[in-house]
């Protein structure tokens, strides 16, 4: 079943991991793909780490094994780094490099990892890495998830054609946010690392 594709979305509670997952699932359905997803919610709103998996193909259930992700959408660099065990040399990656500091870092009890070194590691060892720079995007943080998806949709072999994502946005997003979501997605698509 090499036809299956697995996407990992990693972020911080409040960044919209759950919404993005719903959106990707809807997009896959629009593209008439067999899709499943898995995430743990309950505390997502309260700023903890949130990870979800989306799998496309028969006999998959949204679960991703170690080294099993074909794509990673990292909405925050530390959370992207936390998901490294699920990546492999063929994984294609989008990372939004804007940091959200965990409390321990704020309080000086831990230090934030060296994201640059992590990204260099990915660039050396994985298929494709696109980094959304900290100062590159002038967009409300609320929309950064959709923006990152837009960028991810340009990765080689991304399993869902972007017209289906746009269609899914029409279905999933609340009426009054539709336009700005579509705009963010298109900005993400047009994004090129500066």
């Amino acid at each position: 079943m090499s036809a299956s594709q697995k996407l990992l979305v990693a972020g911080v509670g409040g960044q919209g991991v759950v919404f993005l997952t719903t959106l990707i699932v809807e997009a896959a359905l629009c593209a008439d793909l067999s899709v499943a997803s898995s995430e743990i919610h309950g505390l997502a709103r309260r700023g903890g780490s949130v990870v979800s998996g989306i799998t496309i193909g028969e006999n998959t259930y949204g679960f991703i094994e170690r080294g099993g992700a074909d794509f990673l959408i990292g909405l925050e660099p530390l959370e992207a780094q936390r998901s490294l065990p699920f990546l492999n040399p063929r994984t294609r990656v989008v990372i939004d490099n804007r940091r959200v500091l965990p409390y321990a870092v704020n309080a000086g009890k831990a230090s934030y990892p060296d994201s640059r070194s992590f990204i260099e590691y990915l660039q050396k060892n994985t298929q494709q890495v696109v980094v959304i720079g900290e100062t590159d995007v002038n967009l409300s943080p609320i929309l950064s998830n959709i923006h990152a998806l837009g960028t991810a949709s340009t990765l080689d072999g991304f399993p869902i054609p972007s017209e289906h994502v746009e269609k899914a946005i029409e279905v999933v997003a609340k009426e009054r946010y539709k336009d700005e979501n579509l705009e963010a997605f298109r900005l993400g698509k047009a994004y090129v690392t500066r």
Binding site: E39, R46, G48, F63
Partner: protein, 1141 residues
Amino acid sequence: MPDNIIKILTSYDTPLRACVTGNEAVARGAIEASVCGVFAYPGTPSTEISEVFHDINRFQNHPDSKKAYADLSARPLYFEFSVNERIALEKGIAYSIANQRTLCCMKNVGMNVASDALMTITYQTIGAGLVIVVCDDPGCYSSSNEQDSRYWGKMASVPVFNPAAPADACEMTRDAFALSEQIKLPVIVRMTTRVDHTRGMVSYRKIASNELAPGFERRPEHINIPARTAAAHQVLVEKLEGDVVDRFLDKHSATSPNEGAGERPLLGVIASGVAAAYAREIITREADKGHKVDVLTLGLIHPFPAKIVLEFLRDGIGQVLVLEELDPIVENEVRILAQKHRLNVEILGKDYAGLSVVGEYNLDIVGEALARFTGQHAMKPQGFPAADYEKHVQELPPRPPALCAGCPHRATFYTLKLAVPREDSSVIMCGDIGCFGLGALPPLGMMDTIHHMGMSISMAQGLSEALGAGRGGRHLVALVGDGTFFHSGIPSLLNAVYTRANILVIIFDNRTIGMTGHQEHPGSAHEDKYESVELESLLRGMGVRFVETIDPFDIKSCFNTINDAIAFDGVSVVVSKSPCLFCEEFEGEARRGRRVVVDQTLCNTCHNQDDVELPCSKVVSARNGLSKARALLVAENHIPSSEQRCPANICNHGFLSSILAGDYKEALEIVRDKILFARVCGEVCHRPCEFLYRADGGVEGRTDGSGIVPIKRLKEFVSTIEENFNDFSGQKPTAASGEKRTHRVAVIGAGPAGLSAAYDLIRTGYDVTVFEKEKAAGGLLRFAIPGFRVSKEACEAEISVLRDLGVRFEFDKALGRDFALDDVADDYAAVVVAVGMGISSTLDIIDINIPVSKRYAAIEFLREFNDNTLRIEPGARILVIGGGNSAVDAARAAKRHDAKSDVIISCVETRDEMPAFEEEIESAVREGIQIIDGSDVEACVAGSGDGARVMLKSLNGQKKAWDVSCDYVITAIGQRGDRTAIGQGGLKTNTEDRIITDPAGGRTDTKNVFTAGDITAGNHVSVIGAIASGKRAAVGVRQRLEGYDLPYEGQEALDVLNSPQTPGRRPPRHSDGRLDETQVARDMPAFEIFQACAKCDHCIENFGCPALIKVKGRVRVDDFLCTRCGLCLDVCPNDAIQWAT
């Protein structure tokens, strides 16, 4: 109208492919079985099931739906969030008995609450289908245990479905209704977090038509009395053994892959729940590898499908691996079966290849077990090069969930943290389940216990009873959320009232059940279908006599209420009421437009020194910040930082903050940062820092008038804790700069001024030599101030620090006698002259009439007293002339030398105007010394024997005179400079023979000569005046030698001290005796200096709002996260957090 609601309510003749979560699939399954009533209590991971029905209920009862979707809302479902799971199930049972299909939803531990109802209904009967969905939580993502709720099916004898994926969940829920209705038993659908929250493809089919009419039929089974029970048990056993159950068992088991006629493999896997999905994915993926495994998946696991399993095992399987999360329930049944039927099969399960009863399975765990079972590498290797990989996955900072920015719970916890000191364990905080349980984590850390829902109140009353709380100063506080209080706190509170417990209960009323996504509860019913219960009336009705509602964003009033409540004898309840940010009633919009900013000039800055390189022993700590913030609320005496008036610039803010935090050693170090003589100052300083010199020339305690901050006594307190005092290790050089050390500086005079200059200079890296005419260092501290006022040993110990720091001493070297100033000025880069005023002023009338052996200058007298060389005839009559401290010291010394002596002080000042310290004067009077104030010497004649008679006249306009017979006269009317020492090197002197200098740096006209102490014209004659001028001279030296360009940091206070305008009125006296630790701990909060040391990080370390972040070491506000609640403005002890203008 929401599409998903319409979709889930629609019947499809041709199946609709949907991708939905397991929870939505359960809801759809129930709808397809034409469920009529749903009773739930929210609880992760089950909540989304009930939310579907909550939304449906709203939709179907909405007037628009009635028109636009008449078919979908024709027969509205009944839905409620019941008060707890037990009520949900009880009401659900009744609903079923009334012949309506019923669904009850709850999380794992909810089933425990509901179990009372479950355990007896099985002996009786239901009506229409009754399905209980129980959601377990392997891995404990959001639960207080990872219990295996399949046991409830076995224990209560009800069938249990165990879906592996959303598609199963839908189908099994639908079939559960059918089975339940046929055997008249409730049926459990047991889900797990992973299945609940997994989205997968589900086919929406036709919805069964609801042919059942509600009704109640009188049946004997509805009455449970012991006489019928045993027979009922038999009926129950039979219900589970019939063909009906068998048909469902058959339907919900599957063997795969179905190889047809091929040869059967020797390996079998039996899987249930999500483990079956893992196995299916892995085995399908690895199918091309050629190893063959037959898989039996079981969907209905109780009653156990013995026939099916037996058939699977009999057919040549040699080894079977059982895959199920949590407890080995299926596995044990398989083992029983094999034993009963003597099967030659090896059964593997728990403890095989890392399979555990603990935690959640996943693809990796199941893959690993299957790989070992089949002898293959089932999982693909990850393939990253090992180099650097570990580095990138190790030690990543955790990101635990936290209370939201602006959360009212944080506000309550914060005030609680201020009100209830947690340093000692006298207050025990019993927490509970819910969002607010996050208050147990740092930085709040306000809970000592958390158990299960509602336990907080029981825990508090139980501990209170056992520990005898209230009597020993121990207090028990129960913290409970509003949802939990209604769920299960009420009976416990009733018990507390009824048993006369002594506890405080704080209800965190955020107007919703927050943790699970904001559901209704009886205390905050927002929808018309529910009635809202007024909490305060309920509490009063329950007999609670102390009930107060507080707004957690009003810190001061909360603080007071909590303190009152904790002091209340009996059960007190405080309701901290403020809506969750996600509640409709939260007035977030009103707050828009404002922004919160941090004024960086007030945050983490120091009001006490311009030179950040100067030493500061203040340790930034959470405890420190908290005590400061606490004092902010309770302090009666606030002193703005701008009024800090220590001439030596001791950081009184940091000093008091440390004492407040109970860190007395740190307080001592803060004093030692600035001065060598912490103990000496504690004993003899005349404490100008304690008084405010008003512009009109008045003086008052530096407070709002209600009292004075006893800085001197506190200094004495911290420096007389011997262990701390004797540890001088904190007094270290502060500059390691080698280039400065090439400068040699000479200090002439080892009194407090010279030694203070030496202290600052050696610490900033200079090579310092001190020249002293005596044989020991200390000056007036050693020779003049009597030992009963200043501890000579302690003084010696403080001076010895200089030697350890590397200062060289040259004793027996008097300026002008043994060396010339010009020579020193040539040899050394800079010279500090601090020789003091060596000559005592005398009265001619005394000098002429009294023989040398019978008269003393006070300084000489005290010196002999201190050296123990005083020779005075016993029982002598002694007259002391003068009103300053030297006079009083000499008088008291004389009295101490010989208690029989008769000592009289005569001074020109009135009693109130005497410059001596009030405490000293009072001591003198108490010791039997007579004071003739407002008097002056008029004449002096020889008296009888060796004695003299001194005639005194009144200066108060009274015609009064005294004729004092005395054996000795001590004059204490002041000192002057010694011209032998200072009349050289071009030094300019004034009429008192003091050296004229530049007041800002102690610099003389001679290029590299500076002065310090009493010899400096215009300098205040006092210990602190001497110390401060020594420090100032050190700054002058640095300005000259290293281009240091900051002024002396204590200049302003020193100017006030030296100002002739500073009134001479004595400050109000302190009470007698040393402070002890109990007094300090009790009184300190009232003496807090407000706007103290701004170095704190208090907002992050003790408050921890996620919107307060640190960027490059500076506290900032994350504008995106900030909800503009404004609480941090009150939290900041430094007024640094402000509304943006």
